[in-house]
Symmetry: C2
Subunit: 343 residues, 2 copies
C-alpha cells in the first residue's frame, strides 16, 4: 500500500521555526500573521508536502466542499440508463464550477441504504442530491435522520406527507402536463385506441405521467394500460401484452424513450407500420436514443441536464450556514412536445 | 433544506438517565457496561434516532468503512465507456459484501485532480482505487501526497520509477501477451499486412499492446500503425487513415473492442468483407459489444469485472492497521483469445 507518513503540523512548525499556532493560522487563512512568517510557513508546507487535516478542521468549520449524489437504484441500473448520466452531467458541471467535489455513493440495492445514511451522517459531505426514489423506499427517512441538507430530483411521494411531515426541496418537470400533451397530440391525430406503457408505478414520476394520460382521455380502457419499468426490455414486454389484449390499438404513449424504443422493436417485429398503423410518443427526448429509433421518436422533452444543474445550485445556495431556506423551495420545469416521425 | 436538529449524545444520556461517558461507551461497542444500562442506552438511541458522530469517531479509529474510486477521465467518458461500468461492478460487489461504501469521485477533467486529492487527504475514506492513469498525469503524485492506501488498476507508468521511487500495488492483465497472441493468430491465418489501431499512447495499457503487436511481427511497417483513443469514433478515424495509407491491408488488430467496432463500420462502408478481405481482432471481450458487432468480434478476453474485485480485495486486506504489505504486491491476470467470426 502506498501509505506514506503524512507530515504533521508540528513538522511544519519546526521547519519554519514558528509555533504550531502560527502554522495553524496561516493554513486556515487567518490574515493576522506577519507576511514574513506566513511566507516561511508556506515555504515549509510546500517543502514537506503538508496537507492540512481537513477532517479535523471540518469538525469546526463543518465545510467539506463535497456534495453526495445518491441514486436509489442498483449501480447496474445507474450505468445502464443514460438518464442518470445526463443528470450527473448537469450536477458535475455545476459543482465543478464552484470547486466542490461530486461524491457518487453507489449501492447494489436497497439493503445498502443504511450504509449510505451512515456515510451521509459521518461528516463527509455538505449535502446530498437524491434521485429516483421509490414509494416504499426507506431512503428518505434514513437521509432525514442523517441530518444533511438535501435536494430531491423528482417530487418525493412521502408516505408520511399526510401526517404533516415537513417537505423537502425538489426539482421536477411537469410530468403530468407533459403526458397530457402527448396523449392529446395522439387523440388530435384521430387515434381512438391510445395505449399507455407506464413507468414503475412505485415512482411518482410514473404515477404523474399515468395521471396525465387519464386527463387527456374522456374514457379510459384499463386493458390499454400496461406497466413497464423505464427500460427497453420492459417496453417490449408491455407492448406484447398490449397487442395480445387489444390487437386493434392504434397509438402508444410510452412513459419514457427507452420504453418507447422497446415498443418500436416489437411493433416492427409484428409488422405494424409506425406511425401509419400505430403512432408512438415517448417521454424525455433523451439523445441520441430518441433520434436513433426507427422511425425517430416524437417525444416530450424535459431538460434532464438542467434539472441536475438546478438541484446542485439549490443545494449550494443554502450551504455554509447562511441560513437554510425557511420552507421547501420547489421548482417544476416545463416540458415541450418534440415532433418527429413516429407520431 | 431538510436539515433537522440532530439528537446529541447529551440528549441520549438524559433520556436514558445515564452519564455521557456511558452512552459513549455503549455507542462505541465497549463491553464494560452493565447490560441493563446498555439496554437503556440502546432504547434511547432508537427512540431519538441518534446517529453517532462518525466524523469525530473516525479521527480516533481512522476507519470510515468507505473506499474512493478515482477514474482519471472526465465523467462523460466514465459514463460512455462500458469498461468502467464493468470495473465498478466488480468493485461494488466486493465492497458491498464487506459493508464498505463505494465513493466514486467524479471530475470534469484533470484540473479537478487537486480537489480529488484534498478529498482523499480529508479523512473521508480508508483508501482509494485508481484507474485509467495517463503518463503525464499529476494524479499519482497528488494521491501519494494524500497519504491514503491505494491500489491501481493497470500498471502505472511512474515518470519517477527510474529514480527509485517506491511502487504501488496494482492489478493488470497481460496486455502485451494478449496482444502478441492476437497478432500471431492473424499471421497464422496467412495475413501478411496486419495493421494496428492503438489506444491512447499516453496510457501504459496501450503501449503494452503496441509492444505485443511488434513482438509478433518479424518486420514492422510504421504505416500500418495508427493511433486511436479506445473509442468507436477513434477507431473509425484510425481505420480511414490506415486504408488511405495502405489500401491493400488484410488484417487489423484494434487495441480494444470499441475501436474495433468503429473499424468494422468503416470497413463495411468501404465494401471490405470481414473476415474475407480484412480480418479484425479486438481486445477486452466486452459484452455485449463484442458479440453484437457485425460480424461478431474475435477478441482477447480479459476479466474486467474480476480486476475490479481483486483491486478492492487487495485494498481491504491491507486495511485497518493490520500492517500494510511491505512491498508492492502486483497481480497480472492472464488473457485468452476468443474466436468469433471476424478473424
Amino acid at each position: 500500500m502506498t501509505e506514506e507518513p503524512r507530515p504533521t503540523l508540528e513538522a511544519v512548525a519546526a521547519r519554519a521555526g514558528v509555533s504550531r499556532a502560527t502554522v495553524s493560522r496561516v493554513v486556515n487563512g487567518d490574515p493576522g500573521v506577519r507576511e514574513v512568517l506566513a511566507e516561511r510557513v508556506r515555504h515549509a508546507v510546500d517543502e514537506l508536502g503538508y496537507v492540512p487535516n481537513h477532517a479535523a478542521r471540518s469538525l469546526v468549520t463543518r465545510r467539506h466542499d463535497a456534495v453526495a449524489v445518491v441514486i436509489a437504484e442498483p449501480e447496474t441500473r445507474v450505468f445502464a440508463d443514460p438518464f442518470f448520466a445526463l443528470q450527473l452531467r448537469g450536477i458535475s458541471k455545476e459543482l465543478t464550477a464552484r470547486d466542490v467535489q461530486l461524491v457518487l455513493l453507489l449501492t447494489e440495492g436497497r439493503d445498502d441504504h443504511e450504509r449510505v445514511g451512515r456515510y451521509l451522517a459521518g461528516g463527509h459531505v455538505d449535502g446530498a442530491l437524491v434521485f429516483s426514489l421509490h414509494l416504499d423506499d426507506p431512503l428518505p427517512a434514513i437521509i432525514r435522520r442523517a441530518g444533511v441538507p438535501t435536494v430531491f430530483g423528482g417530487r418525493p411521494g412521502w408516505p408520511d406527507a399526510a401526517e404533516g411531515e415537513r417537505g423537502a426541496p425538489y426539482v421536477d418537470c411537469d410530468n403530468r402536463g407533459g403526458a397530457r400533451e402527448a396523449v392529446r397530440h395522439l387523440v388530435g391525430l384521430g387515434r381512438g385506441r391510445v395505449a399507455h406503457i407506464t413507468g414503475p408505478l412505485d415512482q411518482i414520476s410514473a404515477v404523474d405521467r399515468l395521471d396525465g394520460y387519464r386527463d387527456a382521455l374522456t374514457e379510459v380502457d384499463p386493458r390499454l394500460i400496461a406497466e413497464g419499468d423505464f427500460t427497453p426490455a420492459g417496453g417490449e414486454r408491455a407492448m406484447r401484452e398490449l397487442l395480445a389484449r387489444v390487437p386493434e390499438l392504434d397509438a402508444v404513449f410510452a412513459a419514457n424513450d427507452l420504453s418507447a424504443s422497446g415498443a418500436l422493436r416489437v411493433l416492427r417485429e409484428r409488422g405494424r407500420r409506425v406511425p401509419d398503423d400505430v403512432a408512438v410518443v415517448g417521454f424525455d427526448d433523451m439523445l441520441p436514443v430518441a433520434e436513433q429509433t426507427d422511425p425517430p421518436l416524437t417525444t416530450v422533452r424535459q431538460d434532464i441536464e438542467g434539472m441536475g444543474r438546478l438541484m446542485a445550485d439549490m443545494l449550494l445556495r443554502g450551504r455554509g450556514g447562511e441560513g437554510l431556506a425557511s420552507g421547501p423551495e420547489n421548482v417544476v420545469l416545463p416540458t415541450a412536445l418534440v415532433r418527429r416521425a413516429s407520431a
